[in-house]
Symmetry: C2
Subunit: 372 residues, 2 copies
């Protein structure tokens, strides 16, 4: 048995794109099928299409929904590497960027005007993402030429607009009801903001850690000396945001924690210096979901972030991370807030993946079950 798939780059990730219909034809449980197609469990994924890293072991499953207000519905699957598992718990911002391009290339959406708007909905999170694909002459450019940081080659330009991203986890942009709160950790009070947009994030002020813009390069060293205190803040925030009943029960991955401070005066390309903690460690960049949370926090009066950036209805926000400056944009449209980032995407290969041996066996078993 063989399965059609497109191998696409979305932002800084490589993603295998499947159509729901093609996967359904296998009559296989996706939690078994996807790991085997990717070559898992195997740290090298040498017998499958996976790339043996978290950013290259990803699948997108796409379909045209019956709901006429949505052009494409998609589900993200993070495929395990050492383990034959699939994590369906979150979306991937980078892989999201392939969905609009896929719809145009497959003729699901007809390009219109200089920028073609594709309404997509992620089923892992319920998030609607309005994708804006550059189609300068009413079509995709023959030669993709948009660049983005972290990718050596150009692609097609895709704007990802997260529609009304607030409260997807907790129901509220500000789950505590306040734009800022005080948390006590390591025997002293910390002024923080807890926001839920894209992902739940607790924002800590850099100055409370003794950090300033002049020595942004040294933030990581200082932050690493305060990891216990910061995790204590994060766990207390989990409780206040209604995501855990006790600090000890807070998940390791959410909420995330961001440290934010004003930029250096000599750094005109930055609105705010940021360092994100992910799984208890300083993150070299910023997940797209985290950048959405910070952007909405900057738009919200009274948050520690809006105090840093100065509340104005700014159309863009430039966040300095260890890996470089990330620019986000936001706008209000017909009562909705759209918060977004620009990525590039490209189709690497149109493929037919050969369904290997063990699946042949499993398929037979499924058929037996189905006809029993």
């Amino acid at each position: 048995m063989k399965i059609e798939a497109e191998w696409m780059r979305g932002g800084t990730s490589k993603c295998w794109v499947f159509e729901t219909e093609n996967l359904n034809e296998t009559r296989m449980d996706l939690d078994q099928l996807l790991p085997r197609l990717f070559g898992s469990p195997d740290s090298r994924q040498i017998d499958g299409v996976g790339g043996a890293t978290s950013t290259t072991s990803k699948a997108m499953i796409v379909r045209r929904p019956s709901d006429p207000s949505v052009d494409v519905e998609f589900t993200f699957a993070q495929v395990g590497i050492e383990e034959a598992t699939v994590d369906w718990g979150s979306n991937c911002g980078n892989c999201s960027a392939v969905v609009g391009l896929y719809a145009i290339e497959k003729g699901w959406v007809t390009p219109q005007g200089d920028v073609t708007r594709i309404v997509t909905r992620n089923t892992n999170t319920g998030q609607v993402i309005i994708q804006q694909v550059a189609t300068p002459t009413g079509a995709l450019p023959i030669v993709p030429d948009a660049q983005m940081p972290g990718v050596a080659f150009p692609g097609f330009k895709v704007g990802l607009g997260f529609q009304d991203p607030a409260g997807k986890t907790t129901g509220e942009l500000l789950p505590t009801g306040a734009a800022s709160d005080t948390v006590v950790a390591d025997g002293k009070p910390w002024t923080v903001s807890m926001v839920d947009a894209g992902a739940p994030v607790v924002i800590v002020r850099a100055e409370d850690l003794g950090l300033n813009a002049v020595r942004y390069d040294a933030w990581k060293d200082v932050v690493e000396q305060h990891l216990d205190t910061l995790d204590s803040i994060r766990r207390q925030a989990a409780v206040r945001m209604g995501m855990a009943t006790t600090p000890g029960q807070a998940a390791r991955a959410v909420p995330k924690l961001a440290i934010a401070g004003p930029p250096s005066e000599s750094d005109p390309h930055t609105d705010v210096n940021v360092m994100m903690l992910s799984m208890g460690k300083p993150h070299p960049a910023l997940a797209i979901t985290g950048s959405i949370a910070l952007t909405l926090a900057a738009r919200t009066p009274g948050t520690v972030l809006s105090v840093i950036t100065g509340y104005t209805a700014r159309p863009t926000l430039k966040l300095r991370t260890p890996a470089g400056v990330i620019e986000t944009w936001s706008e209000e449209q017909q009562g909705s807030v759209l918060v977004g980032v620009d990525r590039t995407a490209r189709t690497i290969a149109t493929s037919i993946i050969h369904l290997p041996e063990t699946l042949g066996n499993v398929v037979e078993a499924s058929l037996e079950t189905a006809t029993r």
Copy 2:
């Protein structure tokens, strides 16, 4: 522009297989085309089909030659990752294992009998490799089921027989004319064998380093204390084998050096304990070319290896490496020696790779040149 390719696993490598004709149609210089298709230069190869490791950044280019005695001719390309380069200097034993399977799957060779014999010739080295693909009912099994060490999933069984591999670099199996020689290093004499088969290799006796089978696990530590001495032996061997005019001018990669000793009496699955040095460091396993050299050395009376294994016309040789036991086989047929190893191979995906933007430009330039 788009290029057809099969993505195949051969042994412990992943290889992209192209037909010469399809590549020629691009009118592109392969030293430019392949790196771009693979996404190089980029340590992550995120915009191409490469897997960002040396064992997953490999291409095989295959064609049906006019010479009727050869079924398939193939060229191996090691595609650079951080650099946009291609190394054409050697063959890859693992990727070689895809060639016979490819010929059967494409209908170039009709399976016959339980084992189908495909005569292949590698153009990088001039080596003829007789491939024996298991076709139990006169066809490839519907479900591939052959296992091999280092690969988590089964594939089709492929025997790789290197035909008369001796002397491909220096012209002689024993370039010095002797089965064993004495080299002086670190102030004392060493009895070594210098053989050229598959690759040029100098074989050192484990006992001369104070190593024995009882403590094979500890070989690496001891070997690492003698790297300078061993490299001195290797460089002197390069001169004696006619591969360098002075020890200082010897290449880093060739000849290779192998340390060999008798197996433990409690280890019936091993004929010889081996540790290979590659680029000056202990290798965790054994390149296929190195295993060919050792196998022919074991067949040759008077080499330090044949003294260890006891010269008999044994059909198989079991070599213990840090990564496990590797079994080779050898036979004489119609005046030819065939030395081989068994691998497994499988087609992962049938693909059309999208030729990216920069190549569009380069193609135009080539066309201009061609019509000037």
